[in-house]
Symmetry: C2
């Protein structure tokens, strides 16, 4: 399987409140973890081959706090695993798809990612990572 | 695997525009299909064990048209497969989780579903279906 949903990022006001529904359904919820550079505290909820990432802002100027101020709580982004990220990005650029940043970035864990602008993806902030990750 | 993401419902203004990014990535997109009672036209994009459902309104009074008028294009709902829907719903009710309707409904294809109110799920409209479906 080459394509899959890696995770859904969900912006929430309170991790404690938001994770409760998943615990009630019988899903496992990871311990809370803080990512300083993103100014978020998060928990992961594995669901089949995917994960739900519940994201709570740790500062008013974090991306998640700004998102909630503007749109309210809810789905923030969708992350898909693709077979070859470099090939995918080259193809998208060639076809005039709008990316959030022009180059592939490397995350904290060493994984590579790129964001497609919601304008080019039906209003969805779409993150792409490589399947091997 | 008992839990998984069944599908993500994405409200879009134009199926033709929204499906293009997934075709460019090399994913297969189903033919367009109209669901009269829901007043939507849709395509399915299988992604691993899940699907993306792109939903375009066929009428201004459809749920999808109202959603877009209020929030713009984007993610409309997340559907999870759970091992036993009746057990899950009984548990959620007992715990005071807010459901959109009090009882389990049966969809066009005979599948059973329930919606959890976004207020009880971190701003996400959460649909639950049974894994066997």
């Amino acid at each position: 399987m080459e394509f899959s949903i890696d995770h859904l990022g969900i912006a929430v006001k309170s991790l404690a409140a938001a994770k409760s529904i998943y615990e009630k359904l019988g899903l496992s919820v990871s311990p809370e973890e803080t990512v300083e550079q993103e100014k978020v505290r998060l928990v992961m909820v594995p669901v089949g081959e995917s994960r739900l990432e519940l994201l709570e802002a740790t500062s008013d100027d974090s991306t998640i706090a700004k998102f909630i101020a503007k749109r309210g709580e809810g789905l923030h982004h969708v992350c898909l695993r693709v077979p070859d990220l470099a090939v995918a990005v080259a193809k998208l650029k060639q076809d005039g798809v709008r990316l959030v940043s022009e180059e592939i970035k490397t995350g904290a864990g060493g994984y590579k990612y790129v964001f497609v602008h919601p304008q080019s993806a039906g209003g969805v902030l779409l993150e792409l990572v490589e399947s091997q990750h």
